[in-house]
Symmetry: C2
Subunit: 519 residues, 2 copies
């Protein structure tokens, strides 16, 4: 359907993959849907569950906490903190009087800023903010050329470069993929350095051991200055509950290390319904609420007022095969309820993301991913980890899916802006110019608004069938494959102060020697 | 991640593509997420716009109606109806005093039933109901084997068979594709007959001419009996405004023919923002509201109390190429606002669907389709046309996408059920059996609930990477290709009374002779 008329040349600011200059210009251009450091949502959250329903889930969580309790293993200091706070401690099992955790959580901030080394990229986490971060934790990476393989540090760096190049992501993430070519003892140092060197956005640190969390924070002290770190959140640590109802000592020591340094732990149960929690959604949510409240409260016992993020990761499973499933409707609707519960605790929320079990960047991947991602933005999540790249049920980072997902993140900027209803948006002036049966293509109102009117995807093909055929009948994955290569080819690292870089390298060299690994 | 444990054999009722027996059994099985004649939503609508915002859009629509007005061309009877109702008629331009249309619309039912020839498949349209119908109106069809080609009557029949075989669609639709191999004068007769013969669900009739609408209704009188048709809605007619602000005589005559027979017209502006309406979303919505209110009110002037559906079809366009775009964020968020406006008129709603401009059943198709389809269910649409098959921006019905979309419709059954919070769902009993750190796979609560616990996709591959690789590394489109062929191979037509079939054939033969086309 050719409509002719005001067909405009793409301005530099609306092109994708235009390199740093284009991206910068895009981010600096005022207008709907263009890049910005993070999103302030213009639409409400979607709250499907009634007050009565929410109270029933909260009561179930309270019952689990009071009667079953939670085990805190291999961390006597944590048991001592609970005992001092008034919990009932028997061995490693801790039971919580009703209301105790909610009371402790009152000291946690409802929102906080995470500084980026480029302060223009600092993000607010909490309230109406929405921050998109790449996927996290895959052992494998995939692309259409080389298929699936173990992730290496160069892949890790590439995904940081791709994230940094996207106007639609706001955060550099953390363990985007595991760089298995590096020694496990010192891998965290190289990973944090890569985030600092290849991105000027906010990022996440190591959580695999207390000492590695402390190394991550120490690198931030070199980067930001110790005073700044003491007074501001500059790094996040994503800490998992060992569901059901177990907190391992490694995790509690790590979350306390982040809290102690006034940095934000993200407290995340990973419940595969039917395995690590009840097979029913409300039950899985109640258990997760109990586990998360306990983890969040522990950060406040360690350091009252430390920033902390209420996290959740609902999943389901195929009862035919026992495989986990992602992007399915139960977690999508369940995440909305989790959002309601987190807001009643007045805590920043991490929930959902772009999930799929597909092994390819195909129709399944984006059906599941889009359902899951819309749930993330509807539920009011402030920090959306796994916003781009996820494939194969947590196991792979896909170069192509990363580009498709980042593009969806772009569309969600426009979506979250909502519908403006000012006089210009209502457009009544146009009817003075356009009579019934005429078209709006060249009218004044259209000319005044076309540049910011519509989301302009960088991966979709909107051409007529004939044009698309002549151009090779490519599918979206093939276009995404070309796009990530172009983006990497055009990438330039953001400048980093040489003195700071030397300081980071010196610290890392020393730590590697201490840990017995050749620098 | 193999979890072992209660891995169950798929029961017949949970298999897809199990033919009529499987489908019937699926629909008869009580349980979450299984097929049913239509959905009663268990979650609220998502209402992003404030009362003040809604009032501003309504006021803009009222201003358009009062000051610019709408042209009603080539239908003097309609002008006379407006004049008698108190509108200001100048030539073909009709202007409406504020409040007049809302007053007329008070006679339209908020909900009505559309009967199916198998009464177990009758649907309610309005209130909390959600009815999924196939896509509508494509000149082309596509599949992975043969590519794109013009639609023929056998394609038309095939899509009816596929819809009838899906437990996740509720309605047979209308012009699923144009059967261009049939003469245009009598094509409508063969199309309605195909719906009656190959499906026992509710369907839609012709809207290309008043006489064809009347033929469609007459076929229903033969099928249902004239008395039943006089007292019940048995057929829908989807009628388009010629935006901006023009109602063509063909369309008003058709909508009056449906209303006259107590059948439901679906009143649908198709506004490509920037072309047939303002480039801003609120402006496009205000114009659509004006156009739709006028069309709906006209049905009530023709026959007060006739069922009518408030329809909407928002779109956007690529301002680089002038091509229409679908599944983009502006229509997704705009449709939610349209839903809010329709509910304030207390009318059943048709809005959004599964839209895309992709030319393949690929990642783009399902990103756009899923965003668009979630908007359809969030906005409270009661009749969701274009729920399955849509590809290439209205131009093609895809066999593969039809299967993928129908599967998404299945997932949306579970999604719309919301989160149950009864004692069983809260699962507190499970903690008597499962201690911290243990798993829920074999516990009593899981065993009691696993059969209805999770949505079980018929097109997704949830297997581990290795299994998927051994099975040929297929993408979703390839699986869908196999699935539609299997479904067609196993299809059996629902029984149809021979006397009725003869009556339908006799009528059609007579009409073809009258219209000068060989039967």
């Amino acid at each position: 359907m050719a409509t002719g008329g005001i067909l405009v040349e793409p301005t530099e600011s609306r092109r994708r993959g235009g390199g740093r200059a284009g991206r910068r210009q895009a981010r600096e251009t005022a207008g709907r849907g263009l890049g910005r450091p993070f999103i302030i949502r213009g639409i409400p959250t979607f709250d499907p569950l009634s007050e009565e329903g929410l109270r029933r889930i909260e009561a179930a969580a309270d019952t689990i906490l009071a009667e079953t309790g939670i085990e805190f293993r291999d961390d006597p200091d944590t048991l001592e903190l609970w005992r001092a706070a008034g919990a009932e401690v028997q061995g490693v099992r801790v039971r919580f009087p009703k209301g105790m955790l909610r009371e402790i959580l009152r000291s946690a901030p409802a929102a906080f800023d995470q500084l980026a080394r480029n302060r223009a990229n600092s993000v607010t986490i909490g309230g109406s903010s929405v921050v998109f971060a790449p996927a996290y934790g895959s052992p494998f990476v995939m692309d259409l050329d080389r298929g699936r393989r173990y992730g290496e540090i160069e892949d890790f760096r590439n995904f940081i470069r791709l994230a940094q190049s996207s106007p639609w992501l706001h955060h550099s993430g953390g363990t985007i993929c595991e760089p298995v070519d590096l020694p496990v003892e010192t891998r965290h140092l190289d990973m944090v350095l890569a985030h600092i060197r290849y991105s000027d956005r906010a990022f996440m640190g190591s959580v695999t051991a207390e000492s590695r969390a402390e190394d991550s924070i120490e690198l931030c002290r070199i980067l930001f200055g110790a005073d700044t770190v003491e007074r501001n959140c500059v790094i996040l640590g994503n800490v998992n509950v060992n569901s059901p109802l177990v907190w391992d000592g490694t995790m509690t020591k790590v979350l306390r290390a982040y809290a102690r340094a006034n940095q934000a732990a993200v407290i995340v149960p990973f419940i595969l319904g039917g395995a690590m929690g009840p097979v029913t959604t409300a039950g899985a949510i109640a258990q997760a609420l109990a586990e998360t409240m306990a983890g969040c409260a522990l950060t406040q016992l360690e350091r009252p007022g430390a920033p902390v993020i209420f996290g959740n990761f609902l999943s389901s499973m195929s009862l035919r095969s026992g495989s986990p499933t992602f992007g399915t409707p139960e977690p999508a609707i369940g995440s909305l309820v989790v959002g309601q519960l987190a807001r009643r605790l007045n805590l920043p929320l991490r929930c959902a993301g772009n999930f799929t079990t597909s092994k390819l960047p195909d129709a399944q991947a984006m059906t599941e991913g889009t359902m899951s991602m819309l749930s993330a933005v509807h539920c009011g999540a402030n920090f959306i980890l796994h916003a781009a790249g996820f494939l194969d049920g947590l196991l792979s980072m896909s170069y192509e899916k990363f580009m498709l997902d980042a593009d969806l993140c772009g569309a969600l900027h426009t979506y979250l802006d909502g519908v403006a209803v000012d006089d210009n948006a209502l457009a009544l002036e146009a009817y003075g110019e356009v009579a019934p049966g005429q078209h709006f293509l060249g009218c004044g109102h259209t000319l005044k608004n076309y540049q910011s009117a519509f989301w302009d995807s960088g991966t979709a093909d909107n051409d007529p069938f004939e044009t698309w055929s002549e151009n090779g009948s490519e599918d979206a994955a093939t276009r995404a494959n070309r796009l990530w290569k172009k983006t990497l080819a055009e990438y330039e690292a953001p400048p980093l102060d040489e003195g700071i870089e030397d300081g980071l390298e010196d610290f890392i060299a020393r730590r590697k020697r201490e840990l017995g690994v050749e620098a």
